[in-house]
C-alpha cells in the first residue's frame, strides 16, 4: 500500500512540475524583454535625505516618461541608503556592484562617499553616473572612462560667480567657507575668475567643518572692508550664515555672492534674510527653456512638489544612461559602445541642453540668479557653456 502511495505521489509531483514548466514557458518567452540593472546609492536619511529623494524622483520621472523602460529595456532598481557616511561607502557600493551585480551605479550627493564609489566603479569596471557630488577630482585627477557626471564641479558655479563679481566692478574680495574639500575647490574657482579679471582676493577665510559660529569671521570681514564677499555654505550652515550676515548689518554694506547651494531650498528657513542675494548655479527658477516648463509641470504632477536642481540632475542621469543604452540596442551591455555614445551625447536637460567634456563633466550655462521670496529667479547667464578645466585628468 505504501509503495503505491509513494509511486502515486511521485507521479503527481512530476505531473505538477511538468504542468508548471509548460505554463511558464510562454511567460518566460514574454519576459525575455531585456533588463538594465540600475544601482541607486544615495542618501535617504540624514541631512541630505531630501536631495537623495529629489535625485531619485528625477531619475524615475524620466524613466516614466519613456514608458517605464529605457531604450526598450526594463529598469530594475537596486537601492542602497549611503547615509552620507564615507566610512561605509565602499561596502555599500560593493553591495550594488558585487552582490546585486548592477549594470550602472548612480550616486551620490556627498563627495567623500562618491570618491569611495568611484574607486569601486573603476576597480570593477562598472559604469557610474554621478548625479550630484561636485568633487573636482572625480572628473579631474581621478577621472575614468566609465565615470560620468551630470551635475557640476565645485569649481564651475564658483568660477561663474567670480566672473560676475569682477564684471560688477568689484576690485577686492574676501572668501569664507568651511575647511573641507568642496569649500576649498569652490573658493579656488571663484579666485580663478576674480583674479583672472584683475581682482584681488584679500583673504581666504576658513572655519572648521561643520562649525556654525560665524561671528569672529563677520567681524574680520568688516574690518577688512572688501568690495565683495564670496562664501560657500550649504544646508543648516547656509541658513545660519545668511541670517548672521544680515543681522551684523553686512548685507547692506558689503555685497554677498555664492554658489547657488547657499540659497537653494534654504530661503524659507532664512526668513527673508536672504532676499535679493545673487548666486550662480547651473539651474534656476523661471528659466525660459521649453523642456524645463514641461519637466516642472510633469514633476509637480507626479510628486506634488516643485523640482530643484537635484531632481534635474537625476533626470539627466537617466537621459545620459539612455543615450548609452541606445547604442547597444539588444543583447549584452557592451560598455565600450555605451561610453562612446554617452561621451558624444547632447542631453536635452531642463537646465538647457548640455554636452559632456572630455573628462565626462557637463559643459553648461551657469545662470545668475536673484533670491525673490522662496525662489531663485534667473536674471542672466553668469558664464555660458562653461567647462571645468579638468586639471590632472589623463583621458
Amino acid at each position: 500500500m505504501n509503495k503505491e502511495h509513494g509511486r502515486t505521489a511521485v507521479r503527481s509531483i512530476v505531473g505538477l512540475v511538468g504542468v508548471a514548466v509548460g505554463a511558464m514557458l510562454p511567460l518566460a518567452a514574454a519576459h525575455a524583454a531585456e533588463k538594465v540593472k540600475v544601482g541607486l546609492m544615495l542618501p535617504y536619511t540624514g541631512t541630505y535625505a531630501a536631495l537623495g529623494t529629489a535625485i531619485t524622483n528625477g531619475f524615475k520621472q524620466y524613466v516614466a516618461e519613456q514608458g517605464g523602460m529605457l531604450a526598450g529595456r526594463e529598469v530594475e532598481y537596486f537601492v542602497v541608503d549611503d547615509e552620507s557616511n564615507p566610512a561605509k561607502a565602499t561596502e555599500n557600493a560593493n553591495k550594488l556592484v558585487k552582490r546585486d551585480e548592477v549594470d550602472v551605479l548612480v550616486g551620490t550627493v556627498h563627495s567623500g562617499v562618491a570618491l569611495a564609489m568611484a574607486k569601486v566603479a573603476r576597480d570593477s569596471k562598472t559604469l557610474m553616473i554621478i548625479p550630484n557630488a561636485g568633487a573636482d577630482e572625480l572628473t579631474g585627477p581621478l577621472c575614468a572612462p566609465n565615470v560620468f557626471r551630470t551635475s557640476f564641479t565645485n569649481w564651475q558655479p564658483a568660477y561663474a560667480m567670480g566672473k560676475v563679481a569682477a564684471e560688477r566692478g568689484h576690485k577686492t574680495a574676501v572668501t569664507l567657507t568651511w575647511k573641507y574639500a568642496a569649500g576649498e575647490q569652490a573658493v579656488n574657482g571663484f579666485a580663478d575668475a576674480f583674479k583672472g579679471a584683475g581682482g584681488k582676493v584679500l583673504k581666504q577665510l576658513t572655519l572648521p567643518f561643520p562649525g556654525v559660529e560665524f561671528q569672529p569671521y563677520l567681524t574680520e570681514i568688516a574690518s577688512l572692508k572688501p568690495d565683495a564677499v564670496y562664501v560657500f555654505f550649504a544646508g543648516g550652515g547656509a541658513v545660519k550664515f545668511v541670517k548672521d550676515y544680515d543681522a551684523a548689518g553686512l548685507k547692506s554694506s558689503i555685497p554677498l555672492y555664492s554658489s547657488g547651494f547657499l540659497t537653494d531650498g534654504t530661503l524659507g528657513a532664512m526668513g527673508g534674510a536672504g532676499e535679493g542675494l545673487l548666486t550662480a548655479l547651473q539651474y534656476a527658477d523661471g528659466l525660459d527653456v521649453a523642456k524645463d516648463k514641461d519637466f516642472r509641470s510633469a514633476y509637480a504632477a507626479s510628486y506634488k512638489m516643485q523640482p530643484d536642481v537635484y531632481a534635474v540632475q537625476g533626470y539627466d542621469a537617466a537621459q545620459l544612461l539612455k543615450s548609452g543604452l541606445d547604442a547597444v540596442k539588444t543583447g549584452k551591455l557592451e560598455q565600450g559602445a555605451m561610453i562612446k555614445a554617452m561621451e558624444s551625447a547632447t542631453i536635452d536637460s531642463p537646465r538647457g541642453a548640455f554636452t559632456l567634456s572630455k573628462a565626462h563633466n557637463p559643459v553648461q550655462d551657469i545662470y545668475l540668479r536673484k533670491a525673490e521670496g522662496e525662489e531663485n529667479k534667473v536674471v542672466g547667464v553668469a558664464a555660458g557653456k562653461l567647462a571645468d578645466p579638468a586639471r590632472g585628468c589623463r583621458m
Binding site: 535617504y44 566610512a87 561607502a89 565602499t90 567623500g112 569611495a116 575647511k179 574639500a181
Partner: protein, 326 residues
C-alpha cells in the same frame, strides 16, 4: 556544569566558529566573503579595545584614532603608480598607531574615571581634525590606497593581496594570531597585573607596582593592535577617510565589546559579528534602523550585563536553578 567542562565547551565552540570562518569562502559569494573579512578585521579592532576596557578597566572612547592613523599610514605610504611593500608598510602603520597611542597615553592616563573617558574622546577628535583639515591627510574627501601592498620579499612573493581569497585568509590568519597573542599576554604576569589594576588600582600600587607604566604599556599595545586592524581595513577597502577616526567609530567598537561581553576575547569577536549582523538585519527592515540599534544597545546594557558571551552561563544558571529547586 563544572568549570572544566564549561571551558571545554567554550573551546569547542570557538574552534567550530573558526572552522566555519575558514570554510566560508567555499559556500559564500564573493560579496559576503568580503563582508566576513570586514567583520574579522573589526573583531581584531574590538579585541584590542577589550584589552583596555575589559581587562585593564580603562574605558577609552577614542580608540578609533589609532585605527584611523594606521589606515592613513597605508594610504600615505602607497605611491601613486606602484604598490608599497607590505613588509615596510605594515610595520610602519602599526608603529604609527603605537606611537600615537604612547604619546596620547602619556596625557590621558594622568586622568581617571569620567575624565579619562572624555579626554580619550577629545584627543581622538584632535587626530580627526588633523586628517580632516590639514593637507597631511589629503583632506575631508578621503584618499585612495592606490594599490594593495605587495608581499614580495627578496624576489619571492608568498601571497598576493589582490586575490580576494588570499586576502581573506591573511585576515583570518591575522585574527588567529592576534587572538593567540592576546591570550598569551593576558595569561602572563603582565596580564595579571592589568586585571589587578582593573579590580583595585590602589591595592596594586600598595603592592609595589608602578601602575602608570603598566597602564601606558596596555594603552600602547591596544593602540598597536588597533593599528593592525586599521592596516587591514585600508588594504581591504582601498579607501581611507577621516571618518575612520570619528567618535562614532569609537562608539561602534565599544558597542561591539559590550555586546559580546567584556573581559573575554572570544566575546569581542562575537560582539563584532553580532553588531554588524544586527546592523545589516535592521538596515534591511527599515531606513530608520538606528532606532532599532539604539534600542538594542539600551536593552543590552539594562538586561544583559556581561553581553552575549555570558548568555549561555546565565541560561544554564536558570535551567540548573530550576532543576535544583524542583
Amino acid at each position: 556544569m563544572n568549570p572544566t567542562t564549561q571551558s571545554r565547551v567554550a573551546m569547542i565552540f570557538k574552534l567550530a566558529v573558526l572552522a566555519g570562518v575558514i570554510a566560508f569562502p567555499v559556500f559564500g559569494s564573493a560579496f559576503y566573503t568580503e563582508m566576513v573579512a570586514k567583520v574579522l578585521v573589526l573583531a581584531i579592532f574590538a579585541m584590542s579595545l577589550d584589552l583596555l576596557v575589559g581587562f585593564t578597566g580603562l574605558v577609552s572612547l577614542g580608540h578609533a584614532a589609532y585605527f584611523g592613523i594606521a589606515a592613513y599610514a597605508v594610504a600615505l605610504a602607497t605611491p601613486k603608480y606602484d604598490p608599497a611593500n607590505l613588509w615596510v608598510v605594515f610595520p610602519l602603520a602599526v608603529l604609527a598607531a603605537a606611537l600615537a597611542a604612547f604619546f596620547i597615553g602619556l596625557f590621558v592616563l594622568r586622568t581617571k574615571g569620567i575624565y579619562f573617558i572624555m579626554v580619550t574622546l577629545a584627543f581622538a577628535q584632535m587626530a580627526y581634525y588633523i586628517f580632516h583639515d590639514t593637507p597631511l591627510g589629503g583632506g575631508s574627501d578621503g584618499i585612495y590606497v592606490n594599490f594593495k601592498p605587495d608581499a614580495t620579499i627578496a624576489g619571492w612573493t608568498p601571497f598576493d593581496l589582490n586575490e580576494p581569497l588570499q586576502l581573506y585568509y591573511i585576515v583570518v590568519l591575522a585574527l588567529v594570531a592576534v587572538f593567540a597573542f592576546l591570550s598569551l599576554v593576558l595569561r602572563s604576569p603582565f596580564g595579571r597585573v592589568l586585571v589587578g589594576i582593573r579590580s583595585n588600582e590602589h591595592r596594586m600600587q600598595s603592592l609595589g607596582y608602578a601602575t602608570f607604566r603598566y597602564k601606558l604599556a596596555a594603552f600602547t599595545l591596544a593602540g598597536a593592535l588597533a593599528g593592525v586592524a586599521g592596516f587591514l581595513y585600508a588594504v581591504l577597502f582601498g579607501f581611507v577617510t577621516p571618518e575612520y577616526l570619528s567618535w562614532h567609530q569609537s562608539g561602534n567598537v565599544l558597542m561591539m565589546v559590550i555586546l559580546g561581553g567584556m573581559g573575554n576575547l572570544g566575546g569581542a569577536v562575537l560582539g563584532a559579528f553580532a553588531f554588524i549582523g544586527l546592523q545589516e538585519l535592521f538596515s534591511d527592515w527599515t531606513k530608520h534602523w538606528q532606532l532599532l540599534m539604539g534600542g538594542v544597545i539600551v536593552a543590552a546594557v539594562l538586561f544583559m550585563p556581561g553581553g552575549l558571551s555570558a548568555l549561555p552561563r546565565r541560561i544554564l544558571k536558570v535551567v540548573n536553578g530550576e532543576r535544583g529547586n524542583g
